[in-house]
């Protein structure tokens, strides 16, 4: 047979790096195209930030630093929660429903490549969120500590928080039906926003504070605040997030159904 036909077989997988980048680009485009996800990712955190600053002003809430300096790290943590947990869970739930995961499962892209692509898309969207939130915060006079320690702490906690929440998001998406995932992921987001010690420090919740600090939301909030207010990298919240990542990933690996 001569290799002249249009469809003459010439199979082969693209290099893994190219596949992962393609997957990350695709998922980023789809995330940015989805209006509801953008509401969750940008609009709500900005409303919380602005609302928090104005409310703190009005009712005379006392923080150790200015309201904007206290709230912005937590709002960044909230943005990370919204993308790496809620958005990821919902999109993955519907990918299961619509057979996307099944179809990609028959493509050359391995599962690890799919996961890496997803995480890449999450980190990119989070970067965009942080830029928007930082610009708004700077408009309100935000003055974060800018040291190698604070940059390392912020990036480190962004990655640790993403890992923990992504593991938990995938746990829900892989076990529940798409609609149930949608409901659960949004509900948990709202509950953690209100009472998860993510935007407000755990200490503002009184006796509950100690308990909330071990939630992934509390740990991520504490880590972000310590990084951006004190320029340090606290170890305990990092270990808590790693613990949640390990538990979430182990359970996900056991329970995740691809169809």
């Amino acid at each position: 047979m001569t290799a002249t036909g249009t469809f003459t077989p010439r199979p082969g997988a693209a290099p893994l790096v190219r596949q992962v980048l393609a997957q990350a680009r695709m998922e980023t485009r789809l995330l940015l195209r989805n209006g509801e996800q953008l509401l969750l990712a940008v609009v709500i955190p900005v409303i919380v930030l602005v609302g928090g600053i104005l409310a703190a002003d009005k009712v005379g809430l006392e923080f150790a630093t200015t309201a904007v300096d206290t709230l912005t790290p937590g709002v960044i943590a909230l943005a990370i929660l919204s993308t790496s947990f809620t958005s990821l869970a919902i999109t993955t739930g519907f990918e299961r429903r619509y057979g996307v995961l099944k179809r990609l499962g028959a493509s050359p892209l391995p599962r690890t490549g799919l996961l890496t692509g997803k995480v890449g898309a999450l980190l990119f969207v989070e970067l965009l969120q942080v830029i928007v939130i930082a610009l708004v915060a700077l408009g309100f006079g935000w003055s974060p500590v800018l040291t190698p320690g604070s940059v390392f702490g912020t990036l480190g906690y962004a990655v640790l928080g993403t890992a923990a929440f992504a593991a938990l998001g995938l746990l829900i998406a892989g076990a529940l039906r798409a609609e149930a995932t949608l409901a659960a992921a949004n509900l948990i987001y709202l509950l953690l926003l209100a009472g998860g010690a993510i935007v407000f420090p755990a200490s503002s919740y009184g006796v509950m504070g100690g308990l909330l600090a071990v939630l992934p939301s509390g740990a991520l909030g504490t880590g972000m605040r310590t990084a951006l207010i004190d320029g340090a990298f606290p170890l305990t919240p990092a270990l808590i997030l790693l613990g949640w990542t390990a538990v979430g990933a182990a359970l996900t690996a056991r329970t995740f159904r691809w169809e």
């Binding site: 010439r10 997988a13 179809r103 028959a106």
Partner: protein
């Protein structure tokens, strides 16, 4: 030239041996064995629920055989899946794309996962996807979704393509386009395994047909072999009242030994053999003589539908 067993394994595109698949208590595939030769279009034909999709998905590595062996291009679809996947193309029966993704965008994405993909614009053009290229997947018609799924299956230039009900719900024009593409793929050296419950699709397209029912292989052969085309005809007699019990034997005597009379159910008979207008007249006269009132009496070429009916006593497509 001597050929060892491993040669014969690697020379066929698909080898299924004693496959058994269960969903709980329900047996979906029941000791199925069949072979697909390279460079053919092979149809797996059967009614809904016959086990076609389960069999295909086992070949694609989605499901683990409960019993038996499956080899695809000489590889185990489970343990050698990563090696196998770039070499095969998969068309799922439905879904397989994000609801918000645009048709061409999805195709480009699958193409980008392969090393030497086909030119996407060419494929878009060939399958008539140009007009809906920027349409989100959820707003594509069923036929457009099918054609996109087919494009996704072939874009990576695979050696072997599994297509599950490729033309279900397509309009006649789209069906022809799909058939032409599959024929061209074969001409260029691609092996195609398709499931269908359309007998005309199997008859027109396939080099080899495996008819399965209730998870078992019923008969295999070329369309010509299965229908013994040209030499045999069938007459189907449907009557308004149930036949008297002696009717088949009596009609058989009237028609002679050349012709086979087979009751399908109490109001329907299948008459197979070198039947012609005379046979029809004999049947008609027999009806009059026995006070049997025909509802329909049709003479036609023996089709796969008749083959299926003869073997299983049931209609293929209903």
């Amino acid at each position: 030239m001597s050929s060892s067993p491993s040669d014969s394994v690697s020379s066929s595109a698909v080898l299924i041996d004693g496959l058994e698949m269960r969903y709980g208590d329900k047996v979906a595939v029941d000791g199925l064995s069949l072979t697909v030769e390279r460079n053919t279009i092979t149809a797996v034909l059967g009614p809904n629920g016959a086990g076609k999709t389960t069999t295909l998905e086992t070949c694609e590595g989605y499901r683990k055989p409960d019993k038996g062996t499956v080899r695809v291009l000489g590889l185990d679809p489970r343990s050698q899946r990563r090696e196998l996947l770039p070499r095969i193309g998969v068309m799922l029966q439905s879904g397989g794309a994000w609801s918000g993704v645009r048709a061409v965008e999805m195709l480009r994405h699958i193409a980008s996962l392969h090393a030497h993909p086909l030119a996407v614009p060419m494929l878009v053009d060939r399958l008539g996807l140009g007009e809906c290229g920027r349409t989100p997947y959820r707003r594509l018609s069923g036929g457009q979704q099918q054609r996109l799924a087919l494009a996704m299956a072939v874009v990576g230039r695979p050696e072997l393509v599994f297509v599950d009900e490729p033309t279900a719900g397509m309009d006649p024009q789209a069906r022809r386009t799909t058939w032409e593409l599959l024929q061209e793929l074969r001409a260029d050296g691609v092996t195609i395994v398709l499931t269908t419950h359309y007998m005309d699709e199997a008859e027109r397209l396939a080099d080899q047909i495996h008819v399965i029912d209730r998870g078992r292989l019923i008969v295999s052969g070329t369309p010509f072999e299965l229908t013994r085309s040209g030499r045999e005809s069938t007459i189907r007699l449907v009557v308004t009242q149930p036949f008297p019990p002696h009717a088949p034997a009596s009609l058989q005597r009237a028609l002679g030994p050349q012709i086979e009379v087979q009751p399908i159910h109490e109001q329907s008979l299948l008459i197979t053999g070198p039947a012609d207008a005379n046979t029809l007249a004999t049947v008609s006269k027999w009806c009059a003589d026995h006070d049997v009132l025909p509802e329909s009496l049709t003479l036609g070429q023996r089709t796969l539908e008749d083959v299926f009916l003869q073997i299983t006593g049931r209609e293929l497509s209903r």
